[in-house]
């Protein structure tokens, strides 16, 4: 167990190191002077000299990389060329928005996905299963950004139940906050819900035909108790794993969702950084996102190995 964890941790650290090199090299691979890129719109010789000085662009590359990592580890992610404020502050402001969005989407995916999956498995061969399968297939084929536009058309313009754009912190006005977050959460959570539904259905079909479920039925337990207490509980292991593996997609999805609904989160920060050529911010968000992604994958693997010993033994070889 410890050996597996150490191997997995070592792999993650190597990957993280390579990612940081790619991010570091990426910004220096830009044609021309990196100071020009870091400066953004401000291009006077004095400003460029100041940037070269503050970023240490006159030192050799290895020293520069060491400093970049050293600063990143202490929470200094540089200064935005667009706002002139520390990038860490911008990320601090954007993060709660994205986290709320991700949490709501996850909640939706779990409730709807598991619910529909259980129904589809229990009502196998009935119209309910067919309906759930069809919705899942469509959910997987509709691009999230188009779903967003269609939902805005339906529920913000035709029948104005929800707001189509903007963000109000939950602490300021919980009702208004939810009114603005429901549509984005549906958009971001729909694909995930479809994946969860398919996995739940498959796992439930396995469990329902297992011996212990038949035994439970034979003992005279109620249908609800057998389905909920026995079959579902054993199916959740698979579902939780798949859910974990899909968390990374939430990061990509958030970028688009925030763009459609004009939410000032992490994704919007990223896209804005691209269009304003704010490379310091871009470098920081890409590094943070990738680090988070690697960390999530590591956690999922660790949790999975605790649940399922076969993985641990296979992976430690």
């Amino acid at each position: 167990m410890t050996k597996y964890l150490l191997t997995r941790l070592r792999q993650s650290l190597i990957t993280l190191f390579l990612v940081s090199v790619v991010v570091f090299a990426g910004i220096r691979a830009l044609p021309g002077d990196p100071a020009l890129a870091l400066a953004g719109e401000e291009r006077s010789p004095e400003a460029l000299a100041a940037i070269r000085e503050s970023y240490g662009l006159n030192d050799n590359v290895v020293v520069q990389y060491g400093r970049f990592i050293g600063h990143a580890l202490t929470g200094d992610l540089g200064t935005s060329s667009r706002t002139g404020l520390p990038v860490a502050d911008a990320i601090g402001q954007a993060l709660p928005v994205t986290l709320e969005l991700a949490a709501l989407s996850l909640l939706l995916a779990i409730v709807v996905g598991i619910g529909a999956g259980v129904v589809a498995a229990v009502r196998r061969g009935k119209p309910e299963e067919w309906l759930a399968n069809a919705i899942a297939l469509i959910g997987l084929s509709i691009p999230t950004f188009w779903l967003g536009i269609v939902l805005v058309l339906g529920f913000a313009i035709a029948v104005p139940v929800f707001a189509a754009s903007g963000y109000v912190p939950f602490g300021t006005d919980p009702v208004d906050n939810l009114r603005r977050m429901v549509l984005p959460a549906i958009v971001l959570g729909s694909g995930l819900a479809a994946v969860v539904m398919r996995q739940t259905r498959a796992a439930m079909l396995d469990s329902l035909s297992a011996d212990y479920v038949r035994t439970a039925r034979a003992k005279g337990l109620s249908r609800g108790s057998v389905v909920g207490g026995h079959a579902l509980r054993n199916s959740l292991v698979t579902v939780v794993t798949v859910l974990g593996l899909q968390l990374g997609h939430l990061i990509s999805g958030a970028v688009v969702t925030e763009q459609i609904f004009v939410l000032p989160g992490f994704g919007k920060l990223t896209i804005d950084a691209v269009f304003t050529r704010d490379y310091a911010t871009l470098q920081a968000v890409v590094l943070c996102t990738s680090a988070a992604y690697i960390l999530i994958n590591l956690l999922v693997d660790v949790v999975y190995s605790v649940i399922d010993p076969r993985i641990r033994l296979g992976g430690a070889r």
Partner: protein, 296 residues
């Protein structure tokens, strides 16, 4: 031993034609896959013959007829500059298909040799390629695409490169897994025993037999690339307006949702139809070509 070496190399080729015919029939019997195949074919033909099919010039404005509802003259209405929506969708399909095919080819050109290398030689090659794959997978697709667009500048070509790169890890993994499996199959061992060089073994014996898995991967890759193109163009990182692209059209439609909802509906339906079609075709192909992957 002699009988084994002479007899073994024959089976893959001799039986291929007959097996292929049976597979095609099996695919034709699968109604969903057939429907998907037909829609996908229509989409491809539309992209190929876009200039012949489109009733109007897709970038010709008509300021006397802006935001017109769908009518006999303009089946799908006109946009804020009076451009015919149907013509723009037809030409947009062309951009989608172009990215879909080029990105997948790009991913295969890079991913297949690396997968063969990692799977066949193992050891250091395998470690190096696996770490490379992990590093690429550590960037969520959009973050990678956004980063590349920032470095290379937003354009259709760069969007295609970004989408192609994002598909490389999957191709590497599949090729590697197939190579690992085929390396120990008898006819490959026989080829090695016969004195076949690494090149012969890899390209005449392993690669041809990994085709099924790779075809299935391509049918997954094309719709993913179509969505990717629409997505990047929607965000302004792909096709640049006024060139027609389904993503650009949806992005523009956002400003006219209330007065002209049809501008947002039809390009989206085109994307959904295309991706659904390729996915259904892919599912069908998987069932026929790769029975191991077929579940339930």
């Amino acid at each position: 031993m002699t009988t084994a070496t002479t007899a073994l190399p024959t089976p893959p080729r001799a039986s291929k034609r007959r097996a292929g015919g049976g597979k095609l029939r099996a695919l034709r019997r699968n109604k969903l896959a057939l429907t998907g195949g037909i829609i996908a074919a229509v989409f491809v033909l539309t992209a190929l013959f876009a200039p012949l099919i489109a009733p109007y010039d897709p970038s010709q404005p008509d300021f006397g007829n802006v935001l017109a509802e769908p009518s006999a003259a303009h089946w799908l209405g006109t946009d804020d500059l009076g451009r015919d929506q149907l013509s723009r969708i037809v030409h947009g399909a062309r951009a989608s298909m172009q990215v879909g095919l080029v990105a997948v080819v790009l991913a295969f050109l890079v991913g297949v040799p690396l997968g063969l290398l990692a799977g066949y030689y193992g050891r250091f090659a395998d470690t190096a390629v696996s770490r490379l794959t992990d590093t690429m997978l550590a960037f969520p697709f959009l973050v990678l695409a956004v980063g590349l667009a920032a470095i290379l500048g937003p354009s259709l070509t760069n969007a295609t490169i970004a989408i192609g790169i994002s598909q490389i890890p999957a191709v590497i993994r599949i090729t590697r897994a197939e190579t690992l499996r085929l390396k120990h199959v008898d006819y490959v061992a026989a080829a090695v025993a016969n004195g076949g060089g690494d090149g012969t073994v890899l390209f005449r014996h392993i690669l041809p037999n990994a085709t099924s898995a790779l075809i299935v991967q391509a049918t997954v890759g094309i719709p993913a690339a179509i969505i990717g193109e629409a997505l990047l163009s929607f965000l302004g990182l792909g096709v640049q307006p006024p060139a027609p692209s389904l993503g650009v059209m949806l992005s523009g439609a956002q400003s006219f949702l209330a007065p002209a909802p049809w501008l947002a509906v039809f390009p989206g339906l085109a994307i959904v139809a295309a991706t659904l079609a390729f996915n259904l075709l892919g599912d069908g192909l998987r069932d026929v070509l790769d029975p191991r992957g077929a579940t339930r």
